[in-house]
Symmetry: C3
Subunit: 255 residues, 3 copies
Amino acid sequence: LAAEGPPVATPAPGIASTFTTLLVSTEDNITTIRLNRPEKKNAITVEMYNELITALEQAGKDESVITVITGSGDFYCSGNDLTNFTKIPEAFIDFPKPLIAVVNGPAVGVSVTLLGLFDIVYATERATFHTPFSQLGQSPEGCSSYTFPKMMGLAKANEMLLFNKKLTATQACAQGLVTEVFPDSSFQSEVATRIKAYAKLPRNSLALSKQLICGMAKERLYAANDQEVERLVDRWQSDECMQAIMSFFQAKAKL
Amino acid sequence: LAAEGPPVATPAPGIASTFTTLLVSTEDNITTIRLNRPEKKNAITVEMYNELITALEQAGKDESVITVITGSGDFYCSGNDLTNFTKIPEAFIDFPKPLIAVVNGPAVGVSVTLLGLFDIVYATERATFHTPFSQLGQSPEGCSSYTFPKMMGLAKANEMLLFNKKLTATQACAQGLVTEVFPDSSFQSEVATRIKAYAKLPRNSLALSKQLICGMAKERLYAANDQEVERLVDRWQSDECMQAIMSFFQAKAKL
Amino acid sequence: LAAEGPPVATPAPGIASTFTTLLVSTEDNITTIRLNRPEKKNAITVEMYNELITALEQAGKDESVITVITGSGDFYCSGNDLTNFTKIPEAFIDFPKPLIAVVNGPAVGVSVTLLGLFDIVYATERATFHTPFSQLGQSPEGCSSYTFPKMMGLAKANEMLLFNKKLTATQACAQGLVTEVFPDSSFQSEVATRIKAYAKLPRNSLALSKQLICGMAKERLYAANDQEVERLVDRWQSDECMQAIMSFFQAKAKL
């Protein structure tokens, strides 16, 4: 990992990461949570969900000013394995301090939809954003049924949420899903410079401002998440969903 | 019509269109509702309003996966004739499946504002978008007082809704009113290709996802429509509105 | 002032401005409120706040169709002096007619956040938009914690509201904060032409349409303002805020 440079440092002495699917470290007032299954493109497992919830709880309480989520290797995250994930969006909705996504490569599924709950989203130009819900017979999650139309309008949101359009980083930036796009060669260093500067700002001012900005939408976000999970659980039990998933993997197997 | 190519087919045998102002057909899981008064630039009459409500009700219940609204000839729609149209936005708010606008030419008035209630809006580069409410002494309708500011922010929405700015297709796309713009020469074929592909996606996944995405805003849309209609009925009875309309048509007559 | 050209005229006879920090005039159905402390970059004082509230009340009731706010000299407004300003956003939320900001130069702090409550925002290319809240240990005001994320999405709003990013006029226009940007050389004349044309539109149609468009968000705007003010009063009493302000001015003094 050392070769990838900032923003993630080797865990500082005394901050032993107790996670098996994540690398968590705190340095310079920045807590970095790194999805760490690079050989599986950081696909989210049940264990990773649970660890991510715990890591967010801990980061919310620790002394850091800024919290960063990123991925190990070439992918940001390839999504999840059809797991029930009611509680994951709530951990993001409730997170009390500035939360920054460092999208170091392609992002798929719930790792894309959850970006709508981050405060800042930095992306390498190599990143892509793909939510193939209907292709797999499913329905939107991660509060995206609320955050995406609010952010980009129905006409743009539905390209992604209904019709499986994969966005480039530049397109995602134009739609408001991404704050800024960087060349891949300088991505890690430019982003690290910014985040380090942010971490020196008055911590209470940042945390209280974030809570003010996000506070008014919280009830709607909880409601959106509840409705999405309910619908998705129904979907998973449907023949249509099962057949869509089988078709998808059969098509893949033929390649 | 044959020369215009897809996405509209000649009515399939057994699906006789019973409308006089619309052409409605279903093929390949796509129901297409075509405003069919090309000699009047598809201006909406009371009859067309009623037929449109009926056609949407039928399309909502039929076996199609995707529903498309488009216009015959060179215009999409030149708006309405000052008719009371309380129920038209409700037919769009309640439509249960993906609804796609194929804006084949200039759009005026309520045909523009209603675009905020579609799931996807494809436009030819030749299309324009014009809502000259204050010029005619009137006020916004079609839920645009709610959907336009939500989609593009007040500063952009008010250029259209207060100050009669006519947008090009490219401008409308930048503001989030239009999903994508196509060259006029390939518009019909490119759009038809996409819609056919969409119609093969799992139907329940699409319909349930659409309901999820649109569900949370429904109450606000009903409220916006009620307020808009109330205001507009007042406007129509005002001297100011009457004089603005007379001035408009007198200026036109001089040309 | 005469050299600056339109849209502001010398006060018409009989409309004597009774303000000491503002120049207010009405001509051609346009009331122009000009922040008039150019030697202080139009920084807002307690007196200016009170006069602005009064001027808006009067403009809301006078015979003008359009109301314009702009600044004297090279700056639009350099923000406020840490004054309690609960009532200023309410004067904007409640303003009953179209309100246009003519941003004639750089804008800072509350003069930027309040732009989210205008109906139209025209800016010279020379304008910049800066809300350095966390740098000064403070938190967002002017309803920006609600209007900015609604307008541009969280990922863009937080660059400004949390992390002090200064936007160019072009960037502000891309984010929906600004309606349109003009070259500095033709700014005043182009804007004056438009506003004069707007002022000839049916006045009731404009006022009632504006109320319709803004009405649904009013309760949320009041709530946002109340929360922002409560938070900000806390901030002002905090050591963190005091130290951030001292650091800021010490750094300035060293230059």
